[in-house]
Symmetry: C2
Subunit: 437 residues, 2 copies
């Protein structure tokens, strides 16, 4: 959701170290482990999850020690406080991480469900059974909680994982993975079900992207550069997402009081995430209602970048704003900045969204049923809202119980991906000597 | 399903022709057309399909003339009779193609269905609505019927298409697309809903593969080389599939009489397609029952490539067979050849399948419920059969009404892809001033 430092540069580092990683072998082991995981019942998988939660707490000291090493090194490298905060583990965070794993154990297991079972006219019994994807690879930032999070969700759904976290979190990830491995082995499960790629050399990322023989799905969790890199170089099917240029359209007959709260919430409640608001489109006939919204935003420290018409209205009302450049409407701000543009009506608003949205989360604020319907029908974003904040696009808020990623592509899954999106299906045909005529 | 000649070589031809194609513009037009198609109701789409069927017949003469030009050129280039047959159109085939389009109009339209609508605890009404993918690109062989087929299925589901058929079918495709365009325009729909890339220069394929800004899904229909090329080079999400190394395992207590018919059907009924049998695995305890199966296959002209143990048994029974090389168990034969290998039991059979299958279609012939269940649980192929021919893996046979492709990847769809697999979904949240706390 925020940029992965430098990962958009796939050039191998010129480290002269000899290879310490055999990715091909890791892939093979992951595939073998995935075959074992695919045959487990929910009870076994849940036992393993609870054992992992226990192991995280039992190994608290070594994990926090490893994390302190990472923090110290990152601080010396000049990592910003906000990134350091994402990297940091402490006793309370570890406790909550273990609790998250226990929560995953509580979720319903989608694997094994049979869909659309039916008897074909020729007597062949046909159904589709939900099965794990197999091996899931994830590339993400220096956030040790993601390591545990993805491992747990994948284990729950019978998938093996190949994890590549940010290089600043190598020691933490090693310690976390050691805890996970110990718990898996104590349950008689293969430690290779969860593997992490700890060598910081960037060459392994490029290699990982081409491991399609062993990996079934790749989930990048990082900025636009990482997603682009994966799309360009990966031979593994990728889930692109997590980049949100999000819009709200303030219609001429919106409930303007509520609009103030919705726009504030969408922009301010957590500005650093992908479902935060980036651009407010204002119906020309609603321009007089922009001031109270803008005042609320200014009071929360939001910088306003307005097109000429909006700028005139704002300055006329004595509200500070700067002139937007054209590129300002193609920004995922991830910070307290908002683009504001005046449009002539619904049609122009939809055109703007179609041109500038990343198809993550876009909404309309209106009391007109007709225009609400038109907006919902014509905007094809992963999440489309009427009179609600864009901030709801989230596995937790949608009641999925968990979130692996937010997809903005069209294949496989869109929007928040929960446990079901970590599965695929196979067709099963039970015959009795059936041949095709 | 069978190899695309040379398409695995992506080198641009050294033709010095100036660019005749603006793919970027084609992509942009396709996207614009897709937005229009996405708002159409089923009745409008069906009217357009019927108009296309009519136009194919009205323009019979120009289409058949164009096809004759292609046939003549292909014959001079030395195209084989079987490929010429796939390229050829005649009055009867055109009639049946038009009838296929009418059949598509009859199918149920999956677009617009709302899934899992529910009221969240906070009162936000959340649902997922099935919508078109947007723009679908297809790369396929010199088969003009595929042009019409994919265009019709995509139009039915509100998708625009960018079609790239084999270069030998350029004139036919132009004529077909002209008929489709005329029908679309007569219905007030954008002709850009169906575009074909007719310039035979291979450079356009490489460019098309990177058109992810405008294309949402790429469907290659061709041999392994084409699929590999797409996976390697495409930045568009690809549906990999259509390559089937298919297995049947003859268990020790199979119904051996029925097994003769099933193996014959799987191998002989249509050997050139992806769901035809490639390898027969024989339980050592069932080796004595191999002879009748092999005799039936020999009587149908099948060449048998057997491992040492099977070869001994076959020759002992006076049945002609050749010794299999190890690479013979990694072949999609697409012809009247069958690999035969003896295994020690279910476990070794499953291991062989896991190692050699392309996860297309694999089955077990047994009367043991326990082993049938084990096989079905452990083999993760797109289609898994018990006591049935592998030949059933097909949109028609599965009752999907249509087939776009057969996927063997894990993302998005597996096995035969019908109309639903040409759709995705968006989340819709209807609120009343909802903000996230």
């Amino acid at each position: 959701m925020s940029p992965e430092p430098n990962l958009s540069d796939p050039t191998p580092s010129d480290s002269s170290s000899t290879p310490t990683v055999n990715l091909e072998a890791m892939g093979r082991r992951a595939r073998a482990a995935s075959r074992r995981l695919a045959t487990l019942g929910s009870a076994e998988k849940n036992r393993a999850l609870l054992a992992i939660a226990d192991a995280l707490l039992e190994r608290r000291e070594s994990i926090l020690e490893a994390n302190a090493t990472d923090i110290e090194a990152a601080r010396q490298q000049g990592m910003s406080e906000s990134l350091l905060d994402r990297l940091r583990l402490d006793a309370a965070r570890l406790e909550s991480l273990a609790e998250d794993v226990r929560q995953v154990a509580e979720l319903e297991d989608p694997v094994g469900e049979e869909l659309g079972s039916r008897l074909l006219p020729n007597g062949l019994r046909l159904s589709r059974r939900r099965i794990p994807l197999g091996v899931v690879a994830a590339i993400y930032e220096a956030r040790p909680n993601v390591t545990v999070d993805i491992a747990a969700l994948c284990l729950k759904t019978g998938n093996a994982t190949l994890l590549r976290g940010g290089k600043e979190t190598v020691h933490s990830n090693r310690a976390l993975r050691a805890a996970i491995a110990a718990a898996l082995e104590a349950q008689g499960l293969p430690a290779a079900a969860v593997q992490s790629l700890d060598d910081p050399d960037r060459r392994w990322v490029s290699e990982l992207l081409r491991l399609d023989r062993w990996v079934d799905m790749l989930v990048p969790r990082g900025g636009a550069g990482l997603h682009r890199l994966c799309r360009e170089q990966a031979t593994i099917p990728v889930i692109t997402g997590g980049i949100g240029i999000c819009h709200l359209f303030l219609d001429e007959d919106a409930d303007f009081d509520r609009a103030v709260d919705i726009v504030e919430n969408a922009k301010v409640q957590r500005p650093s995430v992908c479902n935060a608001l980036d651009t407010l489109l204002v119906h020309r006939e609603a321009l007089e209602h922009l001031a109270p919204i803008a005042q609320r935003l200014r009071s929360r420290g939001v910088e306003l970048r307005a097109d000429d018409e909006a700028l005139g209205a704002l300055r006329g009302a004595g509200i500070e704003a700067v002139a937007a450049g054209p590129e300002d409407f193609d920004q995922e701000w991830l910070s307290l900045i908002l683009g504001i543009r005046v449009v002539s009506g619904l049609e122009e608003a939809i055109e703007h969204v179609q041109e500038h949205s990343t198809e993550h989360s876009d909404g309309i604020l209106t009391t007109s049923l007709e225009r609400a319907r038109s907006f919902v029908d014509q905007v094809q974003s992963a999440a489309v809202y009427v009179n609600a904040s864009t901030r709801f696009t989230d596995g937790g808020a949608f009641g999925l119980g968990a979130e692996v990623a937010v997809s903005t592509q069209k294949l496989h899954a869109r929007g928040p991906m929960g446990l079901k999106e970590l599965t695929t299906y196979k067709w099963i045909g039970w015959g009795d000597g059936h041949i095709r005529s």
